[in-house]
Each structure stands twice: as structure tokens, then as C-alpha cells.
């Protein structure tokens, strides 16, 4: 089958990291991506299905891996080479499905399941190196499953969710990141008098705005967005206010009636947001978030951070609750996160966030475009595989 594969190469990773992961290098001579004919993934056990991707998104974590920004922490949790792509809407046995990529105990055929999977958190599975599959946290990061950036992937029935006919492919491809945002929104336990900040307005940021608005009732929801099109999307998806990164402290101070102190490097607020969803994964974003979230407040790391330098003094001094929000599973009400996301998706007009679409053959252009998506007015750049083999 035709697929875009990630091939592990320490020299290339080092070269990309050293050069800052510039798009030309990341898609050119130092690229870790190989487009070509690869073996179809084999079904590891009875009951597994073949899925033919229709659209597959390019996620921030994919870009981090391609440009050498991903944390080495993830290296032993990944098996190589793998076909990338974990935001997938595809066809399976005549139905349109979205794939829940987490590869927990149940998917791996393990019984009894680990404690985390028993809690309904396959994303936190403690057996990600065991069972029917090689090591890998997700479809799209495991050498045996294939991924969305190829003609075929394989999935356990537990991973498949049927897409309602009313939901276009362009919206369905966002169900996976929406599920991440739903999980994050519910993690923060937002109260009715809270001022909430969503820092960053890429795909995850915008979908977190939507999830917070749909699932909770904060007093005020502030989105921090860099680009004009992001600001428009954030307002449409439910932000009460959208501010630029350079004015975030000023605006959050005002919204929370906090006091602002200007330090040598960056300001801090005495008082501030009750909870912040950090969706950029950058050092600047994280360092700002821990300074404008009030003492005792919550910072939820939603965007995938790399190995970045974060000053822990505010976290220590403000007694912040810093939460990771990774993937999905079963939420407090017993419903699966994907079910909630699929229920929300038709209300959100998500198709407006998707595009442009590229064929696999144009992957260099696709990656380059995705790396500059915000500036170019795009949110979710994706591969369109609907015409492959037609």
C-alpha cells in the first residue's frame, strides 16, 4: 500500500533539532518521512478490522515529531517505522468510522487489564509494550497498526466509532482532537463563577474553547489567539473574549480584577484566571499560563509540550494544580469521551476548520502548510485519501 512512513534516524533527528526544524529541511534532505509502498498491516487477532482512511489530519504532535521538536520521552513508547496519522475518518465494512487511537489493554488483547484501563483510561495504559501489538501509545505511533497517512490501517472494534451520516468527513476528521479537548475541559472541574483562559488557538485550542463552552458554564471564557482567522473561529466557537498573546496579561488582569506586577522577564498577576488550558505546548505559553493563573488555580496542559524550559517557581509558590490532559477514555458520567465528542461535533460547524486538503504525494507542501497554518488562515490541514486507488 502507499503510505507516508516515519523512519527513525538519530542523525536526522539531531540535525532537525539543531536547525530548529525548519520546514524546508523537515520535508527535504533531513526528512524522517518516506513516501512509498509499504506492507499492509496484518490483523493481529480475530475481530480486528481493516480501515481505509478517507481524511487524516496533520496534528501538532505529528509536526513536532517531523521537525525534531518531540520529547525524547516518547521515543521508547513508540515502535518504528510507523505510518503516521491518528486523526482519521475512514471506511470500515461499508460504514464511515472515526478511530479512537489509544492502544490500551483491551485493544492489545490483555486480560486482566491494567489499573488505568480499568478506570477507563486506555490513554494511560501501563501495558503499552505488551500484548498483541508492539510498543506504541496510539495508532499512528505504532509499527503494527498502520496510520491515517496510508491506504489502510487496522483497528480493534473498541477503537471504532460510527460517524452519523450528517457529519461530513471534514468535520469527522476533527472528532479525535475534539475528544482530547472534551477530556481536558472535564478534567478542570470548572465552576460557574470561574474565569477560564484557553491559551493558543490552533486546532486543540479552538476545540477546547468549544468543549469548555459546550460542557461547562464559566463566568467568562477568554481565548488567547495570535492570528485574525483564529480570533474569528474562537468567537464563533464560544469564547466571550479573544485577546492577542501580547495583551493576555492586561486583559486577564482586567477580567479577574487581579493586580499585575511587572517582573524583569514577564509580568505576573496577583489573582488571575481560575483555570488555564495551555494549548500551545510552548515554553512561552506555559510560562505565561503559570503566571496569570491564580494561586490555587489549575493549569491544564493540553497541547503536547516538548522538552521546554518552564520556571517552576510560580507553580510552587502559587500552589497551582498542574494537570496533564492526554487523550480520552471514559469520563465521570460513565460515557466514553468519543461518544461525547461525536454528540457535540454536529453542533459546532467543524468543517469550517478543515482545509486545505492535500494528497499524500503532496506531503511536503502539506507539512509546510501545516507548519504555518495559523499565519495562512488555516486550522486543520489534512490528507485527502478518498481518491486513492479510485
Amino acid at each position: 500500500m502507499l503510505a507516508l512512513q516515519y523512519v527513525r534516524s538519530v542523525p536526522r533527528y539531531a540535525a532537525l533539532k539543531a536547525t530548529g526544524g525548519r520546514p524546508k529541511l523537515a520535508t527535504g534532505e533531513f526528512s524522517v518521512l518516506h513516501l512509498g509502498d509499504v506492507e499492509d498491516p496484518r490483523l493481529p487477532a480475530a475481530g480486528w478490522h481493516q480501515v481505509r482512511p478517507r481524511l487524516a489530519g496533520i496534528c501538532g504532535s505529528d509536526l513536532a515529531a517531523i521537525t525534531g521538536h518531540a520529547s525524547l520521552y516518547l521515543d521508547p513508547l513508540t515502535s518504528y517505522p510507523f505510518v503516521m496519522g491518528h486523526e482519521v475518518v475512514g471506511e470500515c465494512d461499508g460504514s464511515r468510522v472515526v478511530v479512537e487511537p489509544a492502544l490500551g489493554c483491551e485493544v492489545r488483547g490483555l486480560d486482566p487489564v491494567c489499573a488505568r484501563c480499568a478506570e477507563g483510561r486506555p490513554g494511560l495504559c501501563e501495558n503499552v509494550d505488551s500484548g498483541d501489538l508492539p510498543v506504541g501509545l496510539q495508532t499512528g505511533y505504532c509499527s503494527a497498526t498502520g496510520g491515517g497517512w496510508g491506504e489502510t490501517l487496522i483497528a480493534h472494534p473498541r477503537q471504532l466509532h460510527e460517524v452519523p451520516a450528517s457529519l461530513a468527513d471534514e468535520a469527522a476528521v476533527l472528532v479525535e482532537p475534539l475528544a482530547c479537548s472534551v477530556h481536558a475541559a472535564l478534567r478542570a472541574e470548572i465552576g460557574g463563577d470561574d474565569v477560564i483562559v484557553v491559551q493558543g488557538a490552533g486546532t486543540i485550542g479552538l476545540l477546547t474553547v468549544a468543549a469548555v463552552r459546550q460542557l461547562t458554564s464559566p463566568r467568562r471564557l477568554i481565548a488567547v489567539a495570535k492570528h485574525p482567522s483564529q480570533r474569528e473561529h474562537a468567537l464563533r466557537l464560544g469564547a466571550d473574549q479573544v485577546v492577542r498573546p501580547d495583551e493576555a496579561f492586561q486583559r486577564i488582569r482586567f477580567a479577574t480584577s487581579a493586580r499585575r506586577l511587572d517582573g524583569r522577564d514577564r509580568p505576573l498577576l496577583l489573582g488571575g484566571a481560575d483555570a488555564t488550558f495551555e494549548c500551545t505546548g510552548t515554553a512561552a505559553g506555559l510560562n505565561d499560563a503559570v503566571r496569570y493563573t491564580r494561586a490555587g488555580g489549575t493549569v491544564v496542559a493540553v497541547g503536547m509540550p516538548g522538552e521546554v524550559k518552564v520556571d517552576w517557581a510560580p507553580i510552587w509558590q502559587r500552589e497551582l494544580h498542574v494537570l496533564g490532559a492526554y487523550a480520552y477514555g471514559v469520563e465521570g458520567d460513565g460515557r466514553r469521551t468519543f461518544e461525547i465528542a461525536l454528540e457535540l461535533a454536529p453542533r459546532l460547524g467543524l468543517e469550517a476548520l478543515t482545509g486545505p486538503l492535500f494528497g499524500l504525494g503532496a506531503y511536503r507542501d502539506a507539512i509546510t502548510y501545516a507548519l504555518a497554518a495559523g499565519r495562512l488562515g488555516a486550522v486543520k490541514v489534512a490528507f485527502d485519501l478518498r481518491n486513492l486507488g479510485a
Binding site: 495583551e247 492586561q250 486583559r251 488582569r253 482586567f254 480584577s257 487581579a258 493586580r259 499585575r260 511587572d262
Partner: protein
Amino acid sequence: MSRPGAVVEIDRTMPPVLFHHGEGVRLERLPVGSRVIYGPDPLPGLPHPQRAIRRALSHPIEDDPLPSLLRAGMKLTIAVDDLSLPLPPMAAPDVRQLVLQEVLELAAEAGVEDVHLIIATGLHRRMTADEIRHAVGDRVFSTFYPERLYNHDAEDPEGNVHIGVTEKGEEVTLNRRAAESDLVIYVNLTLVPMDGGHKSMATGLASYRGIRQHHNVKTLLGSRSYMHPPDSDLHHSCIRQGQLIEDAVRVFHIETTVNNHSFPSIANFMQKRETDWTASDQAAFLAVKQVTDLAPTHIKRQVFHSMRAPYALTSVRAGQVDAVHEKTLESVREQLTVEVEGQTDIVTIGVPYIGPYNVFAPMNPVLVVCTGLGYLFNLYRGRPVVREGGVAILSHPCRYEFDSVQHPSYIDFYDEVLADTTDPHQIEQRYEERFATDPWYRQLFRKSHAYHGVHPFYAWYWAAHAMQHLGDVIIVGGDRDTVHRLGFKCATRLEDALEMAEQTVGRHPSISHLRLPPLLLADVR
């Protein structure tokens, strides 16, 4: 004898006319038939200022001589106007220094030991030590600062007292030290007719609760103009408050006036009518123009804000507040008044780099409105220079630029309030209370050098009358997004603005240019 003000009609032989444009100047050609309103030339200063001050103190108007009011063991408070006057700041010695030295000498002769000097900042920012030193002089500063020479703190709950309520229900508050003194001497500098009189203490030594009684949309809309106190509800309210203060504490009022000589010799061409420019004036203009066109903004700002005006003292009077102020206003009018026959469809105004609330800071967009449509539009007696429904064309870069130390609440006012509405009534109803009580603004006002949280509201209300009166406002050379946020239109060139204005006032409009400096007061018949 200085030359009186004049209204000059533009003909084909007239040179282009000077416009302030923030930290820069422009020469603009107005259409033939437009009129340029020039203020009078500076009046000569008093030949012996110290002698005049001593005479005023010993021969006050409707009051006892100051020496007879001073006695050992008394509690004396001297209040002084802050740095919002005069503009630009005065070259040393500041007139306040001259007056204070005389007053303190008399106090020392009388054996008065308990003396406090308070800068009457009202809701303005605290003056820095250097600024206070400049205003009061080295000798006074080194003797009294900081224990007995300090800024009024309008937000100190212990430092302000409730004096009473006027017959119109206006609350009156006063600085506690002043209220508990045996005598308060107020040292004022009146630059324009709006200043001085009862307004000095009723705002300078009051708290928000007292000042809000007249610094509100209704009162300011009823002040037409506040440069002519008899027609100003603002002043009527201050007078009621001031009379209550006079009932509560013994006040001896000293008022001074200066001429309108606002710029030092290097920029003296700005003071002169273009027809009077010599070759060296033209060279100076070209030099200033080149520098201001090319230099980075912060350099230009530094140069402009470092200028000190060579004002000269033209009058000094002392005694009972109303009696003194009446005479003071005569002196001010003598210096500023220019008779203007009838209104025009359009008024053009160059907005300078400085206003009362941005000494040593950029003029932020809200202050552009305050200065252009508040202060400068209101430089009239009788009727505005521009007719109702007419157009004001302001010239200013109007950048999104704020001083975070002096104007923190202005930033939020611009970003939060003006994003919602520019209507003064709505703004007052929806937002004023919140800004006035914001604890961060309060802290910066009390401990740093920030204007009070409510101050941008007052700056906006100051322009309410102009906004109601005008059919349109166009800002030439302004940043487009910023000007639109303010609710106005933006033009690149004056010619474009005049073209745009015709859509509001019709073809072939009459045009007046308010040529500043020197400062003027248009007496519109």
C-alpha cells in the same frame, strides 16, 4: 503693547499654515477663503514678580493680609497645583516656587512651625520627586520633602474627610490635613479660564466621591463651554462645593496667571504667525520637520518633553476665592481672547504632543480625544467655532500607544470599554464604577504614578459635548484601526479629510483653523 489675536482669511498669497501633529509639525494649505484664528501675542510679564507677589499677599482682595492670618502654634497647610499646569512645563523658576518662597517666609516670620505642603493632584497621578522639586524649587523641596511636602492621596480612607452635601445634593470631601488646618493657602496657576477658583480645592484636594459630582456626562454636557465658567455646570458645581469648604475651613487663595509664551527660542517659530516667519524661523521649521519626520518616536518624545516654556508671570492676586478668581479670569481673557465672527462648517485643529494628562508620556488615543475634542474644541466663549452638525478635523498620528505606568486603566478603557461602546452615557452607566473601584488601579494610583482608575472616563466625558455637537470627526494621519475604535473617521491627508467632510456639511464649506500655539480663547459672536 502686544498684538491682539486675529482672524485672517486665506488668500492666494498666504503661506501654508502650521499644524501640530503629535510629536511633529506640518504645514498645510487650506482652501482660499478659509480663516485662521490666531491668539494674541504673549503679554509682557510683570517686571518684578517677587515684589508683585509680596504686594498681593499684603493687599489681598476681600480678605485680611496674609501676615495677619499667620500665628505661632497654628496648623498651616499650603496646597499647590500639580504638573497638569502649565503646558508645556514652565522653565525654572516655576511660578509656584516664587509664591511658595514668599508665603513660607511670612510663615517663618510669624513663627508658624506646623506647615505641610500638599500637591493638589485630585485624581491625577502622583508627581515624582524630581517633578515636585522643579515646581517648588530646591530650597523648599529640601526643607519639606517628603514628610511635609507630598502628594494628596484621594484614595486614602483615613486621609480624606466628608465635609457635607451641597443644596443640590453634591457630596463634598476634602483632604484631612487641609480640613483640620487653621488655615489653608492655595497656590494656583491659571492658564485657561477653566482653571482656578473653587475648582482648585473642590477637585485638587477631593476624593472620587467628591469629584464624581461634577466630573460626569450630564454636568459636562451642561458646560458650554467649561472654558467660560458662567456657562459651565462644572464650575457651578465646584462653586457650591467650594463654598461648603470655605464654611468648614479658613481658605486664603492665591492665583497667578502667565502669558501664552509656550515654546523656547529653538521652537519659537511655532508661536509666530506664518506671515511673520523670518528666514531663521523657516530654517528652524525645516530642521524640526526633518528631525520629527525621521527620528524614532521615543527620541522625538524625549526632545519635545524636555522643552520648558518661557512663560512670564502676568498677574498675581490673593484673598477670597471668588473675588480673586473674577480678577484672574480678566487677566486670562486679556491674554487669550480673540473675537471671531460667526461659526463655520468645519474646524481644523492640530493636536500637539502634550496635554494635561501626559506630561512625560505618550498621548494615547483616549487623550487625543480628550485634548482635541475636550480642551481644544472647548476653547470658546459663546458658541463653538464650528456649527452644530459641523465637522472637526484633527491632525495627530493617534497610535495605539500607552504608558503603562501613568495610564494603566486607559489601556483597559480603550481595549474593553471602547470595544463595546463609545457613547459617554453608556460608558458611564456600564463601566465607571468598576474602574473607579478596581483594587489594582487603586494601588497603582496610590503607590506608583498612575492616574486614577476612573480618569480615562473623565477624559472621554470631557469630549462628550463636542461629540454631541459635531456631525463628524476626522483624524488626519491617524492609525486607521485606532481611529475607528474611537468611533471616528480617518484620512491620510488634509485634502482628503476636507473632501470627506463635504459629505456631512455639503459642498464649499466654510473652514476655520484653530492655530495653536499660542493658546487662545475664541469669543464667537
